[in-house]
Symmetry: C2
Subunit: 322 residues, 2 copies
């Protein structure tokens, strides 16, 4: 297979290369693209050194089996349609096309069937959404989800490598604030993205809208509070769910979570630092509120499960590799 | 006034000394008590050096205007009843007596009337509870609170100075875990206290039970997830509330919060590091869910508002100083 990664030098781009290696995807040729500034950098794939090239329109007109985009919405909006027009399959990690009704928004374990015979642009969901819907899709199938209240504890890596550097610099005593609106070291910031007219933030609206689209049920109500915490890798979520059909016993919910693909249920408390670098969603602290409501805690590596791994899983389904 | 502080060398004990200074409480004599290990230390109050004495039963039998306890439940259980038996007023920051039906659990702004003509032991509530009920008591008076969903982001100082040192050591690269069950640096831990039989933790039960007792309404349902974060000072809470009577317009809730004593409403996002060292609860990110539900974010200094300041406010009400 010939694969191209756009935004190869970023946090998610580098993780995509790593996941291709880890999942032993049979890549014959890997092309890496980035901005002019990052072109010329050398990255390694399966011990082979690859020079990063500058992203150009012409490069997008060539033929690839898959193009993986993770270079931000503006780059995706400009270059992904060109690549698609020239017959390429684009798996796009940005938010550019997620809510476009003609573009599938895919978590393969949940709605991978949308990939059958599909050509063009496929959207990779928001990191916080992916790990939440993975822990809930089987519960939704069985009992129907009515409402979700979720408070997030999101790692800085979700905002890219500059954000990681910013936290590290602040921890080293530097008084620098550029990626985040306030200091993140020794602090938590209850705002990701911008506040919209009704008070919910753009990040919160991603969780609201993407959850409905992925679970294909626009009656689901989601009320998030998205918060940045001084963690490098691994998003956490405190979730409360109300089902449409009473589940009665919490063991019924536990069973559905255990039946969910790529989700690990644990009786022990799981924290983000312990599971960083893995490809699973970890659910713990499951507890019953009443016969139709329950609470739980979930954690997942936001760069892998929440971005790179989901993109590679889409690729593998489309390539007939899983 | 003659005041004694038991547990004077701890985080809350030291803050009590500071708040007595800041609030210009007219203290004639201040006695400081701690464990044998900490006795002999010298602390400063209004530029006066005071030698910390070992806590003894005999010392509790002397006459004070107020004894402030913050040395843990075991110490309170042993020494507070002796002090009370000998006619002293004890303001106890531990959880030892909070749920005792004969002991008032007081946030002065809310139920300070319980202090009228009262003698004996008064319980200071849990830090997370105090800041939550302070932002909600006026809403409860007007609309009646039905349900609260709360996810906390709790600073390490809530677990004492050893916990602060543990985070600092971990940030310095030391591989030490003793106060917390897992590493807290670059991590979040969704467990404070122990897990009980139904899955909720002892810390979560403090919020459930104390909220009902302080607001004097045992129909209120509280569903907390309490989480430790790598912040030194300042607890944060993402809260969703359902009222019994529809409030309809979110401005009605905003008005009640603005009318709440020692609570500051803000249109700007407020983070814990910004308000550490202050004596107010800061409410921001208020938003409407529907006509009887709303969400908000609150932050307060857990050592001051959540412990020392509340204790001194109780003292001042009883001493007729406020």
């Amino acid at each position: 297979m010939k694969i191209g990664i756009v935004g190869a030098t970023g946090e998610v781009g580098r993780a995509m290369i790593k996941v291709l290696e880890d999942f032993k995807v049979p890549v014959k040729e890997l092309k890496l693209f980035a901005s002019k500034k990052s072109s010329g950098k050398i990255l390694t794939f399966n011990d082979e050194k690859i020079i990063v090239e500058e992203l150009t329109e012409d490069a997008m007109k060539l033929k690839y089996d898959f193009l993986l985009f993770s270079a931000g919405s503006d780059v995706s909006k400009k270059f992904a349609p060109i690549a698609a027009k020239y017959g390429n399959i684009v798996i796009d990690n940005s938010s550019a096309f997620r809510m476009n009704k003609d573009i599938p928004l895919v978590v393969p374990e949940i709605n991978g069937y949308l990939l059958n015979n599909y050509k063009g642009i496929i959207a990779n969901p928001n990191c916080s959404t992916i790990q939440m819907v993975l822990s809930l899709y089987k519960v939704h199938e069985k009992f129907g989800i009515d409402e979700i209240f979720v408070s997030t504890y999101q790692a800085v890596s979700g905002a890219g490598y500059k954000a990681i550097a910013e936290l590290q610099k602040q921890l080293n005593g530097e008084n620098i604030t550029s990626v985040f609106p306030k200091q993140i070291a020794y602090n938590v910031i209850p705002l990701i993205g911008d506040i919209t007219v009704d008070g919910f933030s753009t990040e919160e609206y991603k969780m609201i809208n993407e959850t409905r689209k992925i679970l294909n049920d626009y009656t689901i109500k989601v009320f998030p509070t998205t918060v940045r915490v001084p963690v490098f890798y691994g998003h956490s979520e405190a979730v409360v769910v109300k089902t449409k059909i009473p589940f009665k016993e919490i063991s019924s919910i536990e069973n559905e979570i255990k039946n969910s693909k790529d989700v690990i249920f644990s009786d022990e408390v799981i924290t983000p630092i312990e599971i960083a670098g893995t490809d699973y969603v970890y659910v713990s602290r499951l507890r019953k509120i009443d016969e139709s409501r329950f609470a739980f805690w979930n954690v997942a590596d936001n760069i892998r499960v929440g971005a790179a791994t989901n993109a590679i899983r889409i690729l593998m389904v489309m390539a007939g590799l899983s």
